[in-house]
């Protein structure tokens, strides 16, 4: 996964100097990043905290422990647009309100996945949730860079198919 914005000014030291690390994200003015600067994303229309929460929400909907945040960030990056921002801000505000109702400072501040998922279940039929979930089906799983993490090999035509490359190589039956 390549960085989504220039690495300039995004060394670990720079990042930490310019951001607050919260719940696994480095959140600064106009950007969200991994605390180790493995990836970073500029946000133009969404509040950085909103994008960080959206990334967490994406992971809570489709949690794969062996898939890094960068892929979830890439999957929801498109919502950082003038058109989508009001809907996303409102939806994430709803998540935070629900978290507040359970005595948490914010959705991101909830330490246990099960507590966050409880909130998502309670809003499962909402348009906001279904938009995010539906978008992730392609946004996450149709990233070619994700496929090898699941063992999926994609196209094989360019290599002549599997006729000579293990179409029947199962050895445990």
């Amino acid at each position: 996964m390549t960085d989504m914005i220039s690495r300039r000014g995004m060394t670990r030291r720079d990042l930490l100097a310019r951001s607050a690390v919260a719940a696994g994200f480095a959140i600064g003015a106009g950007f969200v990043a991994a605390p180790d600067a493995a990836w970073a994303m500029e946000v133009e229309h969404l509040k950085p905290e909103t994008m960080a929460t959206l990334i967490q929400m994406a992971r809570d909907i489709y949690p794969h422990d062996h898939v890094a945040d960068a892929f979830y960030a890439a999957a929801v990056k498109g919502y950082d647009s003038a058109d989508a921002a009001p809907m996303i801000e409102a939806g994430i505000a709803g998540l935070n309100a629900a978290a507040g109702g359970k005595g948490h400072a914010s959705y991101l501040a909830m330490g246990w996945e099960r507590d966050r998922v409880d909130i998502l279940r309670s809003m499962e039929s909402s348009g906001f949730f279904q938009t995010i979930r539906g978008g992730l089906v392609t946004g996450l799983y149709n990233q070619k860079a994700v496929w090898p993490l699941f063992g999926y090999e994609g196209e094989s035509f360019s290599e002549g198919g599997y006729i000579e490359r293990g179409f029947n190589d199962i050895n445990w039956l």
């Binding site: 794969h64 094989s156 599997y162």
Partner: protein, 523 residues
């Protein structure tokens, strides 16, 4: 006369649609010297154009015009705007199909007689004797190069098949093999052998799978008797005061309306578009739609009883390697009411890539119950269930006047409710499918709901009595002598088998009939 034919040339047979029905019919007629104009709504894509990427290919080939859904089937909820997964391209859905090519069983031609009265089902016997089809099935198998027929060898079994076969045999199933497939196991008919590449649903880049796009269509064109007009979307059919059809109105590639005169019109737009076209062609003489005096146009929509079973194992399967549909269990295809339902079903292996697995394993599903399944993607094996569903008058294609397509025509609404027989059969099939995988040590199994329909059948059905259906035993409409239906919509009942071979056999038979009647001057 030679191609291109003039718009005013009223000697031509106009075939609407170029898939398994229309594409084959157009070529068979052209080979007999009949002048044919084939109007195809989609563009032309050949093996070099096919994309081995599930979503990208879907965007290239799928029929995505406006459609709506209703009824209790889960597709109406999960994929409300996509009732069917079929293709808009020259060659139609023969581009996308998996290649399974099996004949109806004799008893399935006479479902009403053999199954008896089934409450809520609109069963009817086909007005065709099964023996009448034997030679046409043989011709169809030779055209398609079907494996395990005509001396052609079976395909080798891929990983997904080997898991399936071992489980099937452990359960005592006897009719288990790599299928009768229109996919070359060796070179045949100027097409090469299968390279076990996967992506059969995205168009075979080797041309090893039969598709009308690169067989019947170019061969028909080579005769000089067939003109295929691409991106020609038919809007309605016109008729004269004598009740004969005279012309077809279509939107050309630029969206301009054109009028092609016709001596005969053959409708082969798949079981959603074909009845929609007849309904959209209503006139003062045919107020309920063309050829609809029976009221059966659009009714009895069948989609086969389907579902899938996926299973996770503790070791890799890599199901995507090799032919998408790589084998079959036929033991359950018999009619045996002791199982709690009439008719039967086939179990056929099926593999999906990661992107489609995410979309179809449990549509709408999320959270760890869902994602832990995908975490084991490499260790998953899969099969598809296809069985006979009951025709019901209320399962039907209607015009949705609230939704218009890009040409301003009312979109089709597809209404489907499962019949109790369909539900009982599906539950039985889920149990058997899961047992197959449990017998090989599955650690987890998934009874996966139906995908958008690939087998769309029955909406202009064939009947002996004009009161009961839309077309006669030749696919000729009961009401209009020079109007034919040439696709799966003429199916009286669906049988348990994948329908393409039967559609092709019926198209070859219909071509003989039409050419014969034309030379006799009777139509």
């Amino acid at each position: 006369m030679t191609v291109p034919f003039d718009l005013t040339d009223d000697s031509v047979v106009v075939v609407i649609g170029t898939g398994a029905g229309g594409g084959v019919l157009a070529n068979e007629l052209a080979q007999k010297g009949v002048s044919v104009v084939a109007l195809e709504a989609g563009g032309r894509y050949l093996p070099e154009d096919y994309v081995n990427d599930e979503w990208e290919s879907f965007g290239q080939l799928a029929w995505l015009d406006a459609r709506t859904t209703s009824g209790d089937w889960r597709v109406a909820n999960d994929f409300s705007g996509l009732p069917a997964w079929i293709v808009k391209a020259v060659g139609g859905t023969t581009t996308h199909w998996a290649g399974a090519s099996i004949r109806f069983q004799d008893h399935e031609w006479k479902a009403k007689t053999n199954y008896g009265e089934v409450q809520g089902a609109n069963l009817l016997d086909w007005p065709i004797d099964p023996r009448e089809m034997d030679d046409y099935y043989t011709k169809a198998e030779n055209k398609l190069g079907v494996t395990r027929t005509g001396g052609r060898e079976g395909l080798p079994g891929c990983n997904n098949y080997l898991v399936f076969e071992k489980g099937a045999k452990a359960l005592g199933y006897k009719e288990v093999h790599t299928g009768r497939m229109a996919i070359n196991s060796g070179e045949y008919d100027d097409r090469m052998a299968c390279q076990q590449t996967g992506f059969c649903f995205q168009g075979c880049k080797w041309g090893a799978k039969w598709s009308a796009a690169y067989t019947d269509i170019p061969r028909g064109e080579a005769t000089g008797n067939l003109e295929v007009r691409e991106k020609a979307h038919v809007l309605r059919i016109e008729h004269n005061d004598e009740g004969k059809v005279t012309a077809v109105i279509y939107a050309d590639a630029d969206g301009n309306e054109q009028r092609q005169a016709a001596r005969i019109v053959c409708v082969a737009g798949n079981s959603i578009e074909s009845p929609r076209l007849l309904l959209n062609s209503a006139s003062s003489m045919f107020p309920d739609g063309l050829a609809n005096s029976s009221g059966q146009v659009g009714r009895n929509y069948m989609r086969h009883m389907t579902g899938s079973v996926y299973a996770v194992f503790d070791q890799p399967v890599k199901m995507w390697r090799g032919t998408t549909m790589a084998g079959i269990i036929q033991d359950e295809s018999r009619h045996d009411p002791s199982r709690g339902f009439v008719g039967g079903y086939e179990l056929e292996t099926l593999a999906l890539g990661l992107p489609f697995m995410a979309a179809f394993l449990d549509p709408g599903g999320w959270g760890r119950e869902f994602t832990t399944a995908l975490d084991s993607y490499e260790n998953i094996a899969g099969m598809w269930i296809v069985g006979e569903d009951m025709p019901q008058e209320t399962n039907r294609i209607t015009l949705n006047n609230d939704v218009k397509d890009q040409y301003g025509m009312p979109a089709p609404n597809v209404h489907f409710d499962d019949h109790p027989n369909d539900v009982a059969m599906r539950n039985h099939a889920y149990q058997q499918g899961m047992a197959v995988y449990d017998a090989v040590g599955a650690t987890r199994t998934f009874p996966t709901p139906p995908y958008p329909s690939t087998h769309n059948l029955g909406t202009n059905r064939m009947s002996e009595n004009p009161r009961d259906g839309v077309v006669n035993r030749w696919g000729q409409t009961h009401d209009v002598a020079n109007l034919f239906v040439s696709d799966g919509s003429q199916f009286t009942t669906g049988a348990a088998e994948n329908p393409t071979l039967t559609i092709v056999a019926l198209a070859i038979r219909q071509a003989d009939h039409i050419a014969g009647e034309m030379s006799k001057g009777t139509i």
